[in-house]
């Protein structure tokens, strides 16, 4: 059986995900409150509904891919939302990155209506969405995960069931901690090394060969060296994600001293007008604190 898919939120991430679902043979109906986003896909022949509710009525599986908590709550729980149009037994998959607490609330509301709900945030950015190579972290019942597996495989490569409702969001939060702190680690190393007179490319080469090795240096190494901060993954989005991390930590009584500090650095960068740069531009914050531009003898 090829399920009819309803897809709500067709922005930078959602649109290529819809393209990949269509390519995989799924009939897709879309909705977005931003009309321009809908039109792009309509031109390519993808039909649009007038509300999230109508998307649910016309589909077997509903996927949401939206920016933040309130958008997801409105699209799923709102008056003209998914739950208003959904039928018992239907699968609702939220692929947005939001708070695990909100994810669990949505799952509970869904269960009251006999709906099957999964949280399935992704990593890999718009490039991964276009290439169909996203990592998808899924929370919810194992049987529902298995039922959705073929759909996930149309959009991603690494697809892992992380645990019960909210577990996908929790693992995504963990991921965003490690990525942010790794960027900070590389930044502090490069600024110290460069200001103390060593070529930054040599630092990356040596560190890459040992216990200091990491994917951030591997993938973003040239960005650090060339101060090329084209996104990639924007500072404002990583800051949003660290906001979710810290709210979740608050909820569970977890102390994250370094994550909190790096979040403050992202806030400073946003205040300085750098919100749209790639998150690797965290380097420029340490450069400014140290009045040194890596790879030069200039003051930052």
């Amino acid at each position: 059986m090829t399920e009819r898919i309803g897809f709500i939120g067709v922005g930078i991430m959602g649109r290529p995900m819809v393209n990949n679902l269509v390519k995989a043979g799924y009939p897709v109906t879309i909705f977005d409150i931003v009309h321009a986003s809908v039109e792009e896909l309509e031109k390519e022949g993808v039909p649009a509904a007038v509300s999230s509710k109508e998307v649910a009525e016309k589909s077997d599986v509903i996927i949401t891919m939206l920016p933040e908590d309130p958008h997801v709550e409105a699209a799923i729980l709102g008056e003209n939302g998914v739950f208003a149009g959904a039928r018992a037994g239907q699968l609702v998959i939220d692929m947005s990155t939001i708070s695990p607490v909100v994810s669990r609330k949505i799952a509970e509301e869904g269960q009251k209506r006999e709906l099957r709900v999964l949280d399935a945030p992704v990593s890999g950015g718009d490039k991964g969405a276009i290439a169909g190579t996203l990592s998808i972290m899924v929370g919810g019942d194992a049987a529902d995960f298995e039922a959705a597996r073929r759909i996930f495989e149309a959009m991603g490569k690494t697809i892992i069931h992380c645990g019960p409702h909210g577990a996908g969001q929790v693992v995504k939060a963990c991921n965003q901690i490690v990525v942010a702190l790794t960027i900070e680690a590389v930044s502090e190393a490069l600024v110290l090394g460069s200001k103390a007179g060593v070529q930054p490319d040599i630092i990356l080469e040596v560190l890459g060969g040992g216990l200091a090795g990491n994917k951030v240096m591997e993938v973003r190494g040239p960005n650090f060296l060339n101060h090329d901060f084209e996104p990639g993954f924007k500072i404002k989005l990583h800051r949003k994600d660290l906001g979710i991390v810290l709210a979740t930590a608050e909820e569970y009584g977890v102390a994250l001293p370094v994550t909190a500090l790096v979040n403050q650095m992202f806030t400073t960068l946003v205040n300085e007008g750098q919100a749209e740069l790639d998150h690797s531009a965290l380097l420029t914050h340490i450069e400014k604190l140290s009045r040194h531009v890596v790879g030069t003898t200039e003051e930052a």
Copy 2:
């Protein structure tokens, strides 16, 4: 020509390094102020001198592998030290991890006596020293580096000329920043994820597949999961190295906010009697702050 090597400092690191030099066919003369360390190698037939000065007199190339700045200064610059016995043109290689500032001072003193000096700190720990797979980061003249290459190859695998005098120490400092901050990143992620209800092995599995991937999770993953903190690399040694990092940062006017914070955490662990544990035990600090033992429902 097979150079006669003098080796000063035959502790946990130095001793297996000497073994590998002997295996590679070098005649080695040793010295250490700790007599027990000397005796171990003497039993294996390695001759010992009575001072660093005598080591220099009996050798073509002198290597030092000592714990901290003062030991290196005493062994090289002291009254009965290497420089007191060395001849013009001789190669002096300090493989200790010390301050780049001290390394440069030694190089300058050496140049006054027409000696050729290299700083060549290592990473890879005692395991790497035994296996002959150390990473060796070398600062000094390129010609001297090339002259020493075959000797380095007897002890290490990744051997890189990092720049002028002190550059080896600077890159080692960069390495210790990234390793410490990566351990902290993984610790914060695991404590949040586990207290929020996700199995820690799943967190490591998912994060390992994406931009969050790093060598610390790969190599020390089981240590985090099993709370197995057998060293490895001891907290007290990593704290010593971060002390060098922060003193170097001070010297060059570099601000390292997160390195400074993680150094404070290592200090707390030392105060709590954890100095001899592997540095991955940084996890236990975040566990205590958050009153949660990763992978359990217990309070830390």
